[in-house]
């Protein structure tokens, strides 16, 4: 990969990586760090990474980075916080998109990542599997469970409203 191609990757992919990291981490500062680290790795390995595989490489690095950060954060979180976070319905929502976004925050990390890769980036199951190191079947079942959870959440909230 040439310097020009690397810079093209920055232009075309940094926003997507940032949104992916931000959605996963909910922390702008951490998401920015993920973007920096991800592109830093691409730059260091630019001689080995071809332009056509750069996007998958970047998302794989970003995904692993996010998972590391989430796991570290989980270690310091108390059980009470986790339980409350998962089942709390106390927020006020103004539209469906807000409800969906709130529901996404409650998904398990793997389900969240695969559904973001699927919907934000339009990746097929195979590509998501390569990024997340899951089989296609695992990707599919995780996306299914995620959608099922989101659907149930939407249904519950609409009943409450």
């Amino acid at each position: 990969m040439t310097t020009t191609e690397y810079n093209e990757c920055v232009d075309s992919l940094s926003d997507g990586i940032f949104r992916f990291a931000l959605k996963n981490l909910r922390d702008e500062f951490e998401a920015e760090n993920v973007v920096q680290n991800t592109f830093e790795k691409l730059w260091v390995r630019r001689e080995k990474v071809e332009m056509k595989t750069a996007k998958a490489f970047l998302f794989k690095v970003a995904y692993n980075n996010c998972i590391d950060i989430i796991r570290k954060a989980k270690r310091s979180a108390t059980m009470d916080e986790v339980v409350e976070n998962k089942y709390s319905h106390s927020e006020q929502y103004s539209d469906t998109m807000e409800i969906v976004n709130a529901a996404v925050e409650r998904l398990p990390e793997k389900q969240k990542s695969v559904v973001i890769l699927r919907d934000y980036e339009g990746y097929d199951y195979k590509s998501i599997g390569e990024i997340t190191e899951m089989t296609e079947a695992q990707v599919k079942i995780n996306i299914f469970r995620a959608r099922k959870f989101l659907k149930a959440y939407l249904k519950d909230i609409q009943l409450v409203i």
């Binding site: 310097t3 020009t4 690397y6 810079n7 920055v10 232009d11 940094s14 926003d15 997507g16 990586i17 940032f18 949104r19 931000l22 951490e30 920015e32 760090n33 973007v35 920096q36 680290n37 592109f39 830093e40 730059w43 260091v44 001689e47 469906t96 998109m97 969906v100 976004n101 996404v104 559904v115 973001i116 919907d119 934000y120 996306i143 299914f144 995620a146 959608r147 099922k148 989101l150 659907k151 939407l154 249904k155």
Partner: protein
């Protein structure tokens, strides 16, 4: 329960485009006729996330790299660029020849950054013919009372690769920045103008090497004149260790009357300089 799961699976398959035309048409007809199923389908469709395109990464320019060769030539016309290239082509072999025939290696650097003494044989660095791949950094104490104290610098091993990243590896805990820290490495070649970045890493943990700083060389003036525009890129994993470097400015500056350049770390509390030596181009 099982029935609901089956319905969800069918709707999911439809949403994901996994059904063939015939199956999809049949299910859509079923949805049209069944109000409850229609509501389920509406909900399933709403599970598709939509990226907020307004959310963008603002610091793209900081991620971008600049080709040193191109940047070096930018201020010139193409005629000037050709002339400069020809001059460099002639000058480098001549310079090398002069270096190899010199009694005193003028590229040796010792003493503090501010007090370069290239004639001291004890601190004299390896010569051009030695072409070291891995070397130790040498540090000496300052000899001027007015100057701030120079803290012992970590022993650094460094490797270089022409036209690519320079890697400096330090033992665990040694790379912590200290006020007025001076790290020196003898030997420098003009070919180092071609490097586009310097990486400083921290090693010592099992199977792990962490990047703690990335310094990009940027030539916004003519080569051999000034080296500026260096940026730090710190790994958040080491935020605690590197806190003093947060919001710091890293600058690559030429050393007067010397072919070497030094890296200067500046922050509110810390100031550190590093002299780098590179393996000459083969």
């Amino acid at each position: 329960m099982k029935e609901q799961n089956d319905i969800d699976w069918k709707l999911f398959s439809l949403l994901e485009g996994e059904l063939n035309d015939e199956e999809a048409e049949a299910l859509l007809s079923e949805i049209d006729l069944d109000e409850e199923l229609n509501e389920e389908w509406t909900l399933m469709q709403q599970t598709q996330l939509k990226p907020d395109r307004k959310t963008v990464y603002a610091n793209k320019s900081k991620l971008k790299k600049r080709s040193t060769a191109i940047i070096g030539l930018l201020p010139f016309t193409w005629q000037q660029a050709v002339a400069a290239a020809a001059l460099i082509t002639i000058a480098i072999p001549v310079w090398r020849y002069l270096q190899s025939n010199s009694d005193i290696d003028p590229t040796s650097i010792s003493g503090s950054i501010e007090n370069v003494d290239s004639t001291n044989p004890e601190t004299k660095g390896p010569t051009a013919t030695e072409t070291p791949v891995v070397e130790q950094v040498e540090v000496s104490e300052p000899d001027n009372e007015v100057k701030p104290p120079v803290h012992p610098a970590p022993n650094l091993n460094y490797t270089t690769k022409p036209k690519s990243t320079i890697t400096i590896v330090a033992e665990a805990g040694q790379i912590q920045p200290k006020p007025n820290q001076t790290i020196e490495v003898p030997l420098m070649y003009p070919e180092t103008n071609l490097v586009d970045g310097i990486r400083i890493e921290r090693s010592g943990l099992p199977n792990k090497v962490k990047s703690i700083a990335w310094i990009e060389t940027k030539f916004d003036q003519a080569p051999n004149r000034s080296y500026r525009g260096v940026r730090p890129l710190l790994n958040s994993t080491w935020a605690g260790i590197l806190k003093p470097f947060r919001n710091s400015k890293l600058q690559l500056e030429p050393v007067e009357k010397s072919p070497a350049f030094k890296i200067v770390y500046k922050s509110d509390k810390y100031y550190a300089t590093a002299m780098l030596s590179l393996k000459p181009l083969n």
